[in-house]
């Protein structure tokens, strides 16, 4: 349990570090939300200054940080200048959308990558293994951006899938089952694009991990004892190969969020990515910070899950802690 507590502490430190660095960095950077207004000849310099102090931007950095931290403690993520409203109701639905998209894509990618990697490793050195490797290398060299655009083109040209958005216009009037179906239709292509981007990296690691496990002495001994091939692969070898894969899951979350940002922007998925882009273009610091904090929380939570899984899967860690 001490192990989990230590990892949780890590996550909290990560969040605090990101928020402090964001404040420092935004303070060092030239300009803020109001600096574009200063160029407007219809606005007097005094009026802009008044609005700045109204938004609390003229206070010293530590004061602003403490005020922000206090309001976050109350569950309020700040005030968006660009939307002229509280940030919290803006970001929560976006967070849900990103979670849905990345969660589905991760599930899809692992569901394909695990059997594919095990299958290829079991046939190491044959033409089938070679074909899988070549296919994965090809897929790995297709940029996520191109995948997203091609899937969008597919949606627009065939008309079988909706192009953009998370729900149809008539969504509120639909029944519960129809709502799920509608969202699934909207989710299908973005999730597939994201999953295809993740698949080759995962499958290559699964294959490499399995091959390493197959070469270990315990695999030879298990085979000598006559354990059936299927049982050997999935019951004995896969768990042994799982440790680095779980770490990979934790480490790849950052890449996943980055890829998700591109897919969200291209395919019009209302997730955190487009909101972040919008916020930083408008220099809406509170909004950008809220998105940054939520995505950091997402990462920290994902890493914590990976740590717990690792703790469950690997007895060595349990004994050490």
């Amino acid at each position: 349990m001490k192990y989990i507590a230590r990892r949780a502490l890590h996550a909290v430190i990560l969040m605090i570090a990101v928020s402090v660095l964001s404040f420092l960095f935004a303070d060092l950077a030239p300009g803020d939300y109001f600096s574009e207004m200063r160029l407007d000849p219809r606005m007097s310099a005094g009026a802009v200054e008044g609005m700045r102090s109204g938004a609390g931007l003229d206070r010293p950095l530590p004061v602003r940080y403490i005020r922000w931290a206090a309001s976050v403690a109350h569950g309020d993520l700040g005030w968006s200048l660009a939307y002229n409203g509280p940030v919290t109701p803006l970001v929560w639905p976006r967070m849900g959308a990103t979670l849905l998209l990345t969660g589905t894509a991760t599930l899809l990618a692992w569901l394909v990558a695990l059997p594919l990697g095990v299958w290829a490793a079991a046939r190491r050195g044959t033409w089938r293994d070679g074909a899988v490797s070549a296919f994965l290398a090809l897929l790995l060299s297709v940029p996520d951006l191109l995948l997203a655009i091609v899937f969008l083109a597919f949606a627009v040209r065939t008309g079988r899938f909706p192009a953009g958005g998370m729900t149809s216009a008539e969504f509120p009037s639909l029944g519960a089952a129809a709502r799920v179906g509608d969202m699934a239709r909207h989710l299908a292509l973005p999730a597939a694009a994201l999953a295809l981007g993740m698949l080759p990296v995962l499958a290559r690691h699964v294959r490499a991990g399995m091959i390493e496990a197959m070469d270990s002495p315990f695999a030879l001994s298990a085979r000598a004892q006559g354990i059936p091939r299927f049982r050997l692969l999935f019951r004995h070898l896969l768990p042994a190969a799982l440790n680095p894969l779980i770490s990979l899951f934790g480490l790849s979350l950052g890449t996943l969020l980055s890829a998700s940002l591109l897919v969200e922007v291209v395919m019009g998925w209302p997730g955190l990515g487009p909101l972040f882009l919008e916020a930083i273009m408008a220099r809406d610091f509170a909004l950008a910070l809220a998105v940054a904090m939520l995505s950091t929380a997402f990462l920290a939570a994902g890493n914590l899950v990976a740590d717990i899984l690792l703790y469950r899967a690997d007895p060595r860690i349990r004994l050490k802690a």
């Binding site: 990560l14 570090a17 990101v18 964001s22 960095f25 935004a26 060092l28 950077a29 030239p30 300009g31 290398a137 090809l138 790995l140 060299s141 297709v142 940029p143 951006l145 191109l146 655009i149 091609v150 969008l152 083109a153 627009v156 040209r157 480490l251 979350l253 950052g254 890449t255 996943l256 969020l257 980055s258 940002l261 591109l262 922007v265 291209v266 972040f276 882009l277 930083i280 273009m281 220099r283 950008a288 940054a292 995505s295 950091t296 990462l299 890493n303």
Partner: protein
């Protein structure tokens, strides 16, 4: 295939690609900003080898094209223009008023093929330069932290852990957005290299540090230290050369990653902007609704990325094989 052959093949393919892009000024039939407003969204020009009577022509030619009024183009079979080598100081082209667009044109009638070659200069050069920068920083910090240890080492490694946990695209966007948005192309180019390379050095730094940590305990290093060698001498003579293999394999991993970073930033409108092409801002135009509906050739920069990424991937795989 042996490892040597794989490396040679990947290097040859990458060399060809990079040479083609370096020679953009000569290979491209038009300039990157040359507009022909009378030919918006013209499809790739067909090159013919047989004339109307069906006779084979030794010199390939193209027909004049004209808009058919429905957003598409038709060939004017009465006006043929032979393909010529060495026109206007470029490798190939056709005489005016004929036009040749090997990969079609964009919304203002600019040749996509020419822009692809010129755009590759921006995208690939950003990747290469940012890699150099981040390797230089990574080796410097990694050697410093690994060799001297102590609190700078701990600080550096904690910071590296933090930077590596964050999603790189969010980090890039945040850093980029806090810097001035309206700048010249050259400034944008330098800025992209500085940001991408400046953020990316933590991974090579960690790897280099690991090599240095084990390397400084080697017998010959200890011996040199025993003979009274200075820190500067030890680092230059013994420690730095140990880091080169790591730096080399890292380069093959980082270059494609940084090319993609440039593409992503320019795609999102935070990188190099019009009229200078980059594969990113070209893809931004290609992902517009009307472009994806009927102008598939505009996806060319996305497809051009694939062989570049594949080349570096094969090279990295071959280098890692032992």
């Amino acid at each position: 295939m042996s490892r040597r052959i794989k490396i040679a093949l990947a290097l040859a393919a990458l060399g060809l690609l990079h040479a083609a892009i370096a020679l953009a000024g000569w290979l491209a039939p038009y300039g990157f900003a040359e507009q022909r407003r009378e030919y918006p969204y013209a499809p790739p020009t067909k090159v013919h080898f047989t004339d109307r009577a069906g006779h084979f022509q030794l010199r390939p030619f193209v027909y004049a094209i004209e808009p058919d009024g429905e957003g598409s183009y038709r060939e004017d079979r009465t006006r043929a223009f032979p393909l010529r080598l060495g026109v206007r100081g470029r490798l190939f082209g056709v005489d005016e008023p004929g036009v040749i667009f090997p990969l079609g044109t964009d919304s203002v009638g600019r040749d996509v093929f020419s822009r692809l070659l010129y755009g590759g200069r921006v995208s690939l050069l950003t990747g290469l330069a940012a890699t150099l920068l981040s390797l230089a920083l990574g080796v410097a910090f990694g050697v410093f932290a690994g060799y001297f240890g102590g609190w700078p080492d701990r600080l550096l490694m904690r910071g590296a852990e933090l930077a590596m946990a964050l999603p790189w695209l969010y980090l890039l966007l945040a850093v980029r957005a806090f810097l001035p948005l309206h700048i010249t192309t050259l400034q944008a180019f330098a800025l992209l290299i500085a940001i991408i390379g400046g953020i990316g050095w933590v991974r090579p730094a960690r790897l280099v540090r690991g090599v240095v940590l084990s390397g400084r305990e080697r017998g010959y290093v200890e011996a040199a230290r025993g003979f009274g060698a200075s820190h500067a001498y030890l680092i230059r003579r013994h420690i730095l050369p140990m880091t080169f293999p790591v730096a080399l394999t890292q380069a093959t991993v980082l270059i494609p990653q940084y090319v993609l970073a440039e593409v992503a930033l320019s795609f999102l409108g935070l990188g190099v902007s019009e009229p200078v092409p980059s594969w990113g801002n070209m893809l931004a135009e290609a992902s517009q609704y009307h472009a994806i509906v009927s102008h598939a050739w505009m996806l060319a920069p996305g497809l051009a990325l694939a062989p570049v990424l594949l080349g570096y991937l094969l090279l990295a795989d071959a280098l890692e094989e032992r």
